[in-house]
Symmetry: C2
Subunit: 444 residues, 2 copies
């Protein structure tokens, strides 16, 4: 009866009190409210919206449906980075060891890939032996020992969010900014952070198509953080083309390792540094952006960052040898160059088409139950704006078999557009949003 009344009220544009959000969320998590009532309620939320207090109350209710880390006694700042997801986005794999090597604890909880976007967990699990499903107690011990842990949303963390997210995924109620923000923040707050940096992707490969929605999401998360004592800063970064060159799980781990060794592609490095600067500033361990940048360059230059990744991999049961020798990662049976069908400018490299191509190769998911082949994917060397000759290599396809190579070619023909002119790509980092407002980020 409770659920019925709350559905009605939200349906009619009303609001729920904090206690009602709590009661409904916990009753749903406990199975006392059936999926169909929650589905109707979520659609009403999608169409009617939630105000700031409601979003905050939902976040807290989901947070309180499970356990959380208690990390204050570590005696160091705890900062995580969250990305709204894209193609080729292996920034977490670089940032987590890099920032942890600089004395800031990074309790990083990530997700799996779904649809065209990849997921950090899938990438990590391409490292032989790597375990992402740690208990909270194990995570705590590892954080105390090496300052970083890379895990999935455990069953203990925000189970109400877990259940509600799966339902939203099946009922076309995902793309609601307050619901997205509450879902992300309920998990992030469970990490007991002292600060959070968010990478909000822009452009055709991002899940929010319009700039005003991206800014609204940033502002919603910043307010939610402020309501719960966790400062949040967001950067808007480009996802009108893949980030870096490698797209595919093991290929991206390899590129992340190269980047930790100072050999990464410039766009990946720029986005990583921009987000890393925010993490170190929010942690209070850098005096200025320049100082933060110098600290990171040094950690990479001295090999400290790469070494920290080895320690993390080892701690989580993976083969640390992949850092020395990425050939220890799963290797695709077939690989073949993809050459330009004509001369001209690389007009576009469409992230969604690349993401669909990875799914076609077996390296992505259309449903949560799908298994992924970690070895497949693309390494795309052509960048929007490049001039290319007919027959010049644009990318390499990594596939399980010849049929995979053909489907990869098909995907790349759709994804990489060669034309007589190239639109200017989005700036890699365009906006910085914090509690003090929105700033445009100058191009480097």
């Amino acid at each position: 009866m409770l659920a019925q009344r709350l559905i009605e009220r939200k349906r009619d544009g009303g609001r729920l009190e904090a206690g009602e959000w709590r009661a409904l969320t916990l009753a749903y998590a406990a199975g006392h409210v059936p999926d169909y009532q929650m589905a109707a309620f979520l659609m009403a939320c999608f169409l009617r919206g939630l105000d700031r207090e409601e979003t905050s109350a939902l976040t807290e209710a989901m947070l309180d449906s499970g356990d959380r880390l208690a990390l204050a006694d570590l005696g160091v700042a705890r900062v995580d980075k969250h990305s709204t997801g894209g193609v080729g986005d292996k920034v977490s794999l670089v940032l987590a060891p890099l920032i942890a090597s600089l004395g800031v604890a990074v309790p990083m909880m990530s997700g799996r890939g779904l649809g065209h976007t990849g997921g950090t967990l899938d990438k990590l699990e391409s490292i032989p032996g790597f375990r992402t499903s740690l208990t909270l107690a194990e995570a705590r011990t590892q954080l105390a020992a090496i300052g970083c842990v890379l895990i999935g949303q455990t069953k203990e963390i925000a189970p109400a969010d877990r259940k509600m997210y799966a339902l939203r995924d099946a009922t076309a109620t995902v793309e609601s900014i307050p619901l997205i923000a509450a879902s992300i923040m309920s998990k992030k707050l469970a990490e007991d952070l002292t600060g959070l940096v968010i990478d909000i992707k822009r452009g055709s490969g991002s899940f929010l198509p319009r700039l005003e929605q991206e800014l609204e999401l940033a502002e919603t998360m910043i307010r939610l953080g402020a309501d719960h004592g966790c400062p949040v800063v967001a950067l808007l970064t480009a996802m009108d083309r893949p980030l870096g060159r490698a797209c595919g799980n093991a290929l991206e781990v390899e590129e992340a390792i190269l980047t930790l060794k100072g050999e990464g592609p410039p766009d990946l490095l720029e986005v990583t540094y921009a987000l890393g600067v925010e993490m170190l500033l929010i942690a209070g361990t850098a005096a200025s952006p320049d100082d933060a940048r110098r600290q990171m360059e040094k950690a990479i230059g001295t090999g400290k960052a790469a070494e920290h990744f080895q320690r993390i991999i080892e701690a989580q049961g993976g083969n640390p040898g992949v850092v020395e020798d990425p050939a220890a990662l799963p290797q695709a049976a077939e690989c073949e160059l993809f050459n330009s069908p004509r001369r001209g400018f690389v007009a576009r490299v469409e992230p969604r088409a690349i993401g669909r191509g990875i799914i076609a190769l077996g390296g992505g998911r259309t449903k949560m139950e799908d298994r992924v082949d970690p070895s497949v994917g693309f390494v795309i060397t052509a960048r929007p704006g490049d001039w290319v000759e007919h027959g010049e290599p644009l990318a390499t396809i990594f596939a399980h078999d010849r049929a995979g190579v053909e489907s990869g070619k098909h995907a790349l023909r759709l994804a990489i557009i060669i034309g007589d002119e190239a639109d200017p790509p989005l700036p890699l980092v365009s906006h910085r949003v914090s509690g003090s407002g929105v700033e445009l980020v100058p191009r480097p």
Copy 2:
């Protein structure tokens, strides 16, 4: 995947094609679309609306999910009456035998009471032995024999509607005019009617609070009828107080029998005649409203209408003796007068409060699974506008035991308001809506 895309489209304010309504509805009826997806879809429908073609397509899809009667070979007009529901509304019990006794076939499919409104099936089942769950084949045979059948929605008729209605009831998506209209019409069209008369209740006891919604429902049903070759006429009638005096299942059957014998309360008779006029006109068996009225008065005056009720009861397994001797109906163990607490005008008799009082006595339902006690209820002799003295009887309470009498008194104290002045009640029949538009009905 289909459901997901259709939910998204409706969510975003788009429309579904007829084939999509059909596919979604049949997939849901077959269990291929889960309740939670349909619940999200129905909430999107509730908030975004359906246009005329969509409402028509949904109606047809629900109709086609089951079987239907084929009655053209009966060689007579087939007319049903549907009411949006109220308190004390026993019009169907009078009209069905009355109109059938005049040579028009009445294949009447009714529902059960829920919340404050009563249901014709519950009333009929208070007649000892009366069976409302006939198969379509049995219904057809009885129609051919005696021109009338009084049944519930069989499992064969519009199963998609049945399933969807139960879901709407649990997800706060009932009060949507296109969904209501499609639900009613999918069942009515299965009766293979040549015409349908709708009684749309107005006032505090009706489920649609505003006149414009009542007119919109009327117009939606008229258009749906027109789209499917079934002329529809609607009358808007008063439900700011109970209709007639008896409220409660067996009590209402008794009052209906009295009315069929010419001894019914004037308000019940007036509404019955107004709807009956429309039924006979739409059937083409009366030359004018006056002719229709005279035919009905004669059927009642000669005993033909009451006798027809006996034949229907007998055909459906009930004890036809109740028509001669209503004492054969279930009798309450306790009955007690309820007297006016003060002198003054009867300002209001609140139907919802009366309906809740019947539920408290055990004669109504809050959930579909609840069993009802047919014997309990109220006979309310006080009418809005009456002048009453302190201690003058206003009603009689019929209860299972003394505790019931007390709960009945409590309900009547809330329901019957005595004041220093009385607001004018709504006209019994206020509007007539047909394919040619809305007319105000002059007061008699």
